[in-house]
């Protein structure tokens, strides 16, 4: 049979079954169980209306419960137990977690994950904001936007192939077919090499460090200054934690600066980019940044459009320059949206599996939690430790979960 027809048949059965449920269940309810006629018509209609929401909700709740809620608890249980030879499980307490903490690969994955969490959301949001602001004013802005948005449609695996071609390496002497090496071989250690490879990155790192310190200051300021509105202890704790994280990033940017300036570059030698420890993480992150920037751009540009024009006009009348307008008028007004974009990308980063799996498979110190977990589960068949790793991911998501629910409930009122 032609595979097209085969596919079509299965599709018809799957979708048809689903539609049939909703239609038939309502028909059964209205004509057999509580028919809206006879002497009990009124009571029957009321009863049917009490049952109907649950009829509508039933498949959704079943699927949600089975595929999202139940696994959380089941994974928790599995992470506390070990498989017995010959089937069955026994409770082993925190043994799996202990084993997890003793593995260097886990710490590597955790460290890399934090690196991803620090870099990818920040870079995507920043570039997305930049593009949103740039395209806001020019005539071909929407065309530019859809081109930058395009990678959203490309699978992580497809993007991995695309970037593998960019990072491709051939032995020295042969012509390089990866653009990165072709560019790299243009550098010879002269003045331009120093400027592009040392001075410019150094400026970027310094700027990043300053921004981190600034963010930390913004977070802490309301608690130090008098006259600001009082806040609950929960928010205070969150502020302190975020400020400490920002300061840690600033410190790490200083150490990064030192290692950058003291590094010796292998000019004229083609590099196998994906095997250079530590830096290869960044080459993988580029793929996700490339994909996520469009998402950040679309949402931020809508937020920029939503800024009331009077505020901008007032600033112009007061003599503010374009940069002041951007950083002092526009950015504070869309801070809420920036946070939403940031969190959404953070969740994506925590789940990212495909890129690492397809490009390096965690070799050369590029392991991340999701891929580590997959390795444990489906390569080593160590379900206990794999579940423990999954619970670590859940733990990292929990603050966002709480914050989401908190926000949603605030909006409902």
């Amino acid at each position: 049979m032609n595979p097209a027809i085969q596919g079509l048949m299965t599709i018809v059965f799957g979708v048809g079954g689903c539609l049939a449920y909703f239609f038939l269940s309502n028909v059964v309810l209205d004509t057999f169980i509580f028919p809206a006629k006879g002497k009990n018509a009124g009571r029957n209609i009321n009863r049917a209306n009490m049952v109907r929401p649950w009829l509508f909700l039933f498949p959704a709740l079943l699927v949600l419960g089975l595929y999202l809620a139940y696994p959380v608890f089941e994974t928790l249980r599995l992470s506390l137990s070990a498989r017995l030879p010959g089937g069955g499980y026994e409770f082993v307490g925190l043994d799996n977690y202990r084993q997890l903490l003793n593995e260097s690969k886990f710490w590597e994955a955790l460290r890399n994950n934090f690196l991803w969490l620090a870099v990818v959301p920040a870079a995507s949001t920043a570039i997305g904001l930049l593009v949103a602001q740039l395209t806001d004013r020019i005539s071909w802005g929407s065309a530019a936007k859809s081109l930058i948005f395009m990678p959203m449609a490309i699978s992580f695996v497809g993007a991995s192939v695309i970037f593998k071609l960019i990072y491709d390496t051939r032995p020295s002497g042969l012509e390089q077919i990866g653009i990165l090496n072709a560019i790299w071989l243009q550098f010879d250690g002269g003045i331009w090499s120093t400027i592009t490879l040392k001075v410019v990155p150094a400026i970027i790192i310094v700027a990043f460090g300053i921004v981190c310190v600034w963010i930390a200051w913004l977070l802490v300021r309301p608690m130090i200054q008098k006259g600001s509105r009082p806040e609950g202890p929960f928010i205070k704790v969150v502020r302190v934690i975020l400020a400490v994280l920002a300061l840690l990033l600033a410190v790490s940017s200083v150490t990064g600066l030192i290692s950058l300036l003291s590094a010796t570059m292998a000019y004229g030698q083609p590099q196998t980019w994906l095997t250079v420890p530590f830096y290869n993480n960044f080459f993988l992150m580029v793929v996700l940044i490339w994909i996520q920037t469009g998402f950040a751009m679309v949402i931020l540009s809508a937020a920029l459009r939503g800024i009331p024009e009077e505020t901008v006009e007032a600033a112009i009348v007061d003599g503010a320059g374009p940069f002041q307008i951007f950083f002092k008028i526009k950015v504070p007004q869309i801070m809420g949206t920036i946070v939403v974009v940031w969190t959404t990308i953070t969740i994506t980063v925590l789940k990212v599996f495909d890129i690492v799996f397809a490009m390096t498979n965690g070799q050369w110190e590029t392991q991340v939690l999701a891929n580590y977990m997959y390795d444990k589960l489906f390569r080593a068949f160590d379900w206990g430790v794999g579940s423990a790793a999954a619970m670590v991911i859940m733990l990292l998501v929990t603050p966002i979960l709480v914050w989401n629910v908190y926000n949603a409930r605030k909006e409902m009122r």
């Binding site: 595979p3 599709i11 509508f56 909700l57 530019a144 930058i148 695996v157 071609l165 599996f353 397809a358």
Partner: protein
Amino acid sequence: MDNIAGSKSSLTWAVHISTLLLVILWVFPTVGLFVSSFRTGDQIATSGWWKAMLPSEQVITLRTASPDEAMQQVDGVYVVEGNLFTEQEPLDIGAFGTSSRDPEAAEPGQTFDMGDGETMTVQPNGDYRWTSTEEMSGRGQRVFVTAEIPPEFTLANYDTVLGQGVLQSLITFAAGSIVVGFAAFWIARQIGFAGPKGVGFIVGIIAFALLTWIYGIGTGIRTGSGSDDMGKAFFATLTVTVPATIIPIVVAAFAAYALAWMDFPGRALLIAAIVGLLVVPLQLALIPLLRFHLNVGIGKGYLGVWLAHTGFGMPLAIYLLRNYMAGLPRDIIENAKVDGATDFQIFTKIILPLSFPALASFAIFQFLWTWNDLLVAKVFLIDPTQGTTVMTDQIVQLMGSRGGQWEILATAAFVSIAVPLVVFFSMQKYLVRGLLAGSVK
């Protein structure tokens, strides 16, 4: 804002240039893959794709005629003469040699001493003269020739990956369906079916184009080996994607309606729970669900993947659709109730048509990420006969087995990217609308 004094500044040029640079930077990688998919393996290996339009210098191996047939004896020397380009297009030779270690040993026109009393002369046009003091026999002498090869683009990669002639029929079908579709659209406009029906027509055109595409992919004569066969993987992906897009929409739409417009105890709690479930990582679900599927007897197959995708897409679907439906005017629904409509009728006859934008945007999302998914398919859809391998998984396998063969890899990747790109560019408006509805208040 441009009409405000002072806002039209000297920065305008900087804005244009930096936007252009960013756009180029963002498009460049994909273009590379696209261009590479049309180049021959030799060309990809010898020059970067950004030089694809320029002639490239390549070393090719040719062979002289066999001495057994073409050898003559002239003045006591054995000679084989002829032209190297008897079996292919003539090229302009830049250098030649008779050893693979030194393919550029001699200039054209020079006489190259091969040792053992043998010499070789090759003219720029390929005429050669091979002499020896002793009698020669066996096969012809190998000659390595360095030549400028003009840029060459080929559909052969698609023939390998999809099947013979599939790409050609795809292009024909797609062009034909677009022409037919737009003609129908235009005629409908002339008759007077404009307005909201226009959306239906455009969707119809896209659906028609996709269907002919699918038919086109089915037409190929399979030539590639099992692991190169993206045609089969295409259908596997499609079989996963279509129900995994439609089922969650149907299920979520009913649930969203119940959560938005029906009164029952525990509604607020349910909504909060769904918002919480939005962020639960699907990694958590892998083992418990795999065990559940194996226990229930679904095993690893399409049904399991559909259910998994339905489950993982459900929170976002309900969240998006509920937000949208809750914003619909209350009057319409109350009027319908007064007229005696049941909830089922209100839902199918009023709410569903009105919710089209939200439904479309979620449909695009779910389509894109079920099409692009690797993890769920890898866990829930493994078939030892490889009959159900989806495209993403197939590409990962190709990356392992065909790491150096960029022509296969690039083409396979482009095949898997093509459909989402078509959907993305044609339905972008709804995608953006959905993103905004979900993320910004």
